[in-house]
Symmetry: C2
Subunit: 558 residues, 2 copies
Amino acid sequence: MAFKTDIEIAREAKKKPIQEIGDKLGIPTEHLLPYGHDKAKVSQDFIRSLEGRPDGKLILVTAINPTPAGEGKTTTTVGLGDGLNRIGKKAVVCIREASLGPNFGMKGGAAGGGYAQVVPMEEMNLHFTGDFHAITSAHNLLSAMIDNHIYWGNELQIDERRVTWRRVMDMNDRALRDIVVSLGGVSNGFPRQTGFDITVASEVMAILCLSKDLADLQKRLGDIVVAYRRDKSPIYARDVKADGAMTVLLKDAMQPNLVQTLENNPAFVHGGPFANIAHGCNSVIATKTALKLGEYVVTEAGFGADLGAEKFFDIKCRKAGLKPAAAVIVATVRAMKMNGGVAKADLGAENVEAVKKGCPNLGRHIANVKSFGVPVVVAINHFYSDTDAEVAAVKAYVAEQGAEAILCKHWANGSAGIEDLARKVVDLAESGAANFAPLYPDEMPLFQKIETIAKRIYHADEVIADKSIRDQLKAWEAAGYGNLPICMAKTQYSFSTDPNLRGAPTGHSVPVREVRLSAGAGFIVAICGEIMTMPGLPKVPSAEVIRLNAEGHVEGLF
Amino acid sequence: MAFKTDIEIAREAKKKPIQEIGDKLGIPTEHLLPYGHDKAKVSQDFIRSLEGRPDGKLILVTAINPTPAGEGKTTTTVGLGDGLNRIGKKAVVCIREASLGPNFGMKGGAAGGGYAQVVPMEEMNLHFTGDFHAITSAHNLLSAMIDNHIYWGNELQIDERRVTWRRVMDMNDRALRDIVVSLGGVSNGFPRQTGFDITVASEVMAILCLSKDLADLQKRLGDIVVAYRRDKSPIYARDVKADGAMTVLLKDAMQPNLVQTLENNPAFVHGGPFANIAHGCNSVIATKTALKLGEYVVTEAGFGADLGAEKFFDIKCRKAGLKPAAAVIVATVRAMKMNGGVAKADLGAENVEAVKKGCPNLGRHIANVKSFGVPVVVAINHFYSDTDAEVAAVKAYVAEQGAEAILCKHWANGSAGIEDLARKVVDLAESGAANFAPLYPDEMPLFQKIETIAKRIYHADEVIADKSIRDQLKAWEAAGYGNLPICMAKTQYSFSTDPNLRGAPTGHSVPVREVRLSAGAGFIVAICGEIMTMPGLPKVPSAEVIRLNAEGHVEGLF
């Protein structure tokens, strides 16, 4: 069988003018700020005018731990949005924006796949509406103002060795990870060691995605801890008076971006924080706006449910007051087989036993998500190689867990292939079964929060942390940060911190290597393992073959 | 008298939808890619469709050497565009985009002033349509690919000490001028010293502004010399295979931006290369597109006519095949007085003698511009403090030089204040008097080109350059770069290289400190004095007071 590629399908899309898509949601043309003919931002004024309207129902799409087989979480998110529209519900998809830099390393990310995609794909993988550039500018303005403050006399007594605020660039550039700045003599400042992270790792990104409006944004930007004095007292972004100008740089980026699916249904694509050192969800403002405009909002969280859904619930929903009505856990027969010990090369052959053996990974995610009081349905994202017996094995296993697994063919057939899932989601959401509560209360001590996540979600026996880390957590509690949620940064490939430990491991321990305060975003990051915040390019970066072809289309990006 | 500020006037503008502005020029809506309701890019397809159409008349607005009194070159450019429309000519204004970074240092630049402005002012001083961000990305992708090439084995044998390609950021950040990258061990590459320039200083900016289409853009990007081997042979951007991906990043930025004047006349605002190490003009593609769409195109060049007009003629017009029909030289009574020795604090008092004494600066610019075969008119940009006798003195002096000086009140009265100038420009342009030729032929040896500019335009006695500089120029001639024009980088405040030497000095010498090859842009930079390519922030940067006010307007930026 010869399949069309995602980009071929995307280019054949019959896009409607973005004003028509906005009209479906009742957004007046004057409040839709176009970027070309197929992208638009929704004005802050219009968003403010929605206050008091009832909210639609929020559906989370999450997944098993990712495997090299690919699960199709975004594809299912987009497909479910189309499916809900197909069965007569006004549904809006909310997903994250793509980072530009990594697209020039490995092949770029599409927004969904097959016949469940969001378009325009090229623009979404390039500059899109400039949000990430605005975040880069705001972040680096703060960096420049810190060094400028030191240069002109350092009235705040910033300890140059303790400037924690780095710079960012939306590029894979390992040479910038660890640098010395301000060389060259008196007129260039005081030399010190620092570095660049990739823009999606910026705390400004996390802040933009968690802020409810521009006032909240400015407050959070001001709250960022950028450095410490010799006495270890913190210096905030507002101390160097950067918060106002940063807000100005971000005022357009704070407006959600409206695009469309291949089936001309509305999708908000807005924000894209890292899913390790940040919470990995699209923006609160996009989700909340979508809830005012649609009956159903389908959104996703980064990585598998152990990281993505947990942070979605414990950080985003907790802080934004969101109450999910149902969750979809995406799994594939192939991924079950890999969890059951099959190598990627052998995925083509039927292997019901391996499927059964791998299912406990899915089972644990089901139980975990249910433990938040959110009803669950499993979407089996269909591949052509799946056999009936393999699919039946997954369905039977899921039924034993007290849930239902539904075979979905949206990749091949668009919304027509996902109607059953859409109906089930509506049943769950309208059943009133949801009774969402976060995993732990705000008041729980910070270390105990980490333990709670590790034990109840990862099924670990213990959390290991040096005394210095425990002391740091206590110091933050004393400084008034004890009520913050935890943002776990660990491998996405396993419930444990060992990426090779598939399935549903028990008896492992979770070592916390480092903790970081994101005072503006409003969480404490617990780092369990190596986290790379500035990727490098591979030996043969895809940039080498990316080019415009004779028709003016981008080649090599997908 | 209480005057409204520029930003107050700009905010009162009755802007028309950008589609209506495009319609005035016959641009179909589908070829106008909107960015909000008041900005748009013109599609490449539409631009290609214009080939073969006759060109309108090109009018250059230039000025005397700038003084702290302010001349109002952009204001006059915008005013003249409105004035030409007022008298029934279809006229288009073409000016440069503003750089974001410096706006957070000193108070930001407006686009014109008083009642001769281009709007939307806020957006034009912030992210606008993202062109500069795209240039930053393209530039830094090339940087990352160079270090990545070295990291993975350095097949091209790049000498790490001879990597000339730096990185850029659109920010005033002195800490980044001189840095060491790739610290931190094996996985971060080979440590080396380098730095960041501000984005407007990027050769990519100059290339974008000189390229006639996307194919030309890609060729020029490939031509960039990024490093040398130990044997001093050059490495080009195309050797690291960056030219295709850079072109993809720049494909939208290559489309000219359409906005409007306060009087709803069309203005292209596109590109903004430095006026010292680059040529300081808006993009060729915007100017050429405007010439196909309008009867008159009014554009400006950076700094005074000695630098700006010379480069406009010898680089932009020469390379793009443009033939200016007339030039306007902007002068003010106040600037004449400063050239005549009056301090800024004393400009309020009438001083006809000082005006007369300062006029030779203007006189030399008139003669210089005429020497390119371009007819000249002088615009006296009126200030309220100007007396009749002072204005009469300037007019009399200009008449002696065989030109006419016309008093213009566009700042206070918009197009109604500049009708006389508009009529005179039409007379000159339609007289057929123009017979444009560049100052020197392509074949002239490089050093002789520098001497020609210094002697004929600056009226210097000699050019001083070390043997190493002369040898470098000869080496470039041997390498096939001998036919390139020269891009002079010297102080804009004087005909000489001494910024304090006002008026029309003679007998001075021009020391060339350094020469640089911009092989992609297609010129050789002769640096005469200190050139800063990464500004710093002042002690109290305007960023400290920039913020959104309660109405959502930006405060402190203007």
